[in-house]
């Protein structure tokens, strides 16, 4: 029996965030799919693991965690890979990385999620997108990417000189948005474009994509 389990939904950016952390640290685990359409996240047994009915849930050696960013933080601190840590040990350096993890959460994700719903979700369901919502979200995303462009002038990665959770945490929405016309907003900013290509070409990330794409078939 696997000591590590991830309960989740492969279409969900939060589940993908947890998967990215797990694959980056090369951890063995069992994936247990949760069918949101069938209301599986509202059953008593699931709520006993995740009281808000949220995916993903991560179990590891007696711990049960929910909230993908908490899962990411636990994995990156607990399974430090010497030489390729996704965190900094020095508080002053980790402070900077932690700031950019929260930037993804509060600045990047909100417009990215709106665009994902309008351009990816609705397309899947054959529903028309709301052009006004898309325009508003794109305008917000542009402002965020302008800040990123400036930041990446001074720093190879968002959190500092190496790939950390501050970059990893962006992968789920990058994955969804790069398959839409919004891709252009990333490509037309040279530093952002280089950074995207770099992090999206990580071997561990390809394994996540493989797993997600297989599920679509």
């Amino acid at each position: 029996m696997a000591i590590r389990k991830l309960y989740g939904t492969l279409g969900s950016p939060d589940t993908i965030r947890a998967l990215a952390s797990i694959f980056e640290h090369e951890l063995d685990f069992e994936f247990i799919p949760i069918d949101l359409n069938a209301g599986e996240h509202k059953t008593e047994s699931f709520l006993s693991l995740s009281p808000f009915g949220l995916v993903p849930v991560y179990q590891d050696d007696g711990l049960t965690l929910f909230e993908s960013r908490a899962i990411m933080r636990f994995i990156t601190h607990y399974y430090l890979k010497p030489g390729t840590e996704l965190v900094y040990e020095v508080p002053k350096l980790q402070g900077i990385a932690a700031t950019w993890i929260d930037v993804e959460d509060h600045q990047f994700s909100p417009p990215a999620e709106k665009l994902r719903q309008e351009l990816v979700d609705k397309a899947k369901k054959g529903l028309p997108m709301d052009k006004e919502v898309v325009a508003e979200a794109e305008a917000k995303l542009i402002k965020v990417l302008d800040v990123y462009e400036e930041r990446l002038t001074h720093s190879k990665y968002l959190g500092g000189d190496r790939f950390t959770s501050a970059d990893l945490t962006h992968l789920p929405y990058l994955y969804h948005l790069m398959g839409t016309p919004v891709k252009q907003l990333f490509e037309e900013r040279p530093n952002v474009s280089t950074w995207c290509k770099d992090i999206l070409s990580r071997p561990c990330w390809s394994r996540v994509v493989e797993m997600v794409e297989k599920d679509k078939v």
Partner: protein, 215 residues
């Protein structure tokens, strides 16, 4: 001269969140007032501290940080040996605290902030409250607090036995909500009620309120 500068405004919940931490850790600091009414947070000097133009920002020597929860985690780690312990050193205990810190940020704060805006801030600005928004968000907050009630039946504080950032991060919005009709949602849940009374009585928090009332 204090090494730490907190750039903020005592009326901003995010600024209060950082001030609470600075007081809990008993760190020498300078509070640099940012005049939001004059749009100071959108001007070049402040944007060099936080390119998103939002309060607060922290300077610690050469280090510049923004995002209140990230600032607080940094202070809790860097000044681990001073004042109140606000995080756990043990990875597994910290993981649980981390879950409830995310719950505050993702489940509680969006709803609490909307209610605070409608019921506490808008009236001060002479704007009218949107009752539909209030009703919708009171229902959401009730569901969040039901989960808190269960959690606090098993654990004295949200992150575990001890007071941590998982509790502290709630203080600023709690403060605004307690001056409104939303208070009843907290009072009617016994464990939540005890927890609120406990964390709002902390001396460090009372210092933040004293600073606010001076403005």
């Amino acid at each position: 001269m204090a090494a730490i500068k907190v750039h903020g405004n005592p009326l901003s919940t995010a600024s209060m969140r950082v001030l609470a931490t600075v007081y809990e850790k008993e760190i020498d600091h300078e509070f640099v007032f940012v005049d939001m009414r004059a749009g100071e947070h959108k001007k070049e000097h402040f944007l060099s501290l936080n390119p998103f133009g939002q309060l607060p920002a922290l300077e610690d020597g050469d280090l510049k940080l923004f995002e209140s929860r990230a600032i607080n985690k940094y202070i809790a780690c860097e000044y681990a040996d001073k004042g109140t312990q606000l995080i756990y050193q043990d990875s597994k205990m910290m993981a649980i605290t981390s879950v409830w810190m995310e719950v505050e940020a993702q489940q509680y704060d969006p709803v609490a902030s909307k209610l605070g805006w409608e019921l506490a801030i808008k009236p001060l600005l002479g704007m009218s409250t949107d009752t539909a928004v209030v009703e919708e968000n009171e229902a959401k907050l009730a569901k969040v607090l039901d989960v808190y009630e269960s959690r606090l039946a098993q654990s004295k504080h949200l992150g575990g036995d001890c007071f941590t950032l998982a509790d502290l991060h709630h203080l600023p919005t709690l403060h605004y909500l307690f001056g409104t009709q939303v208070k009843k949602l907290f009072d009617s849940r016994p464990h939540v009620s005890v927890w609120v009374a406990d964390i709002t009585a902390r001396p460090a928090w009372l210092k933040v309120l004293a600073l606010q009332s001076q403005q």
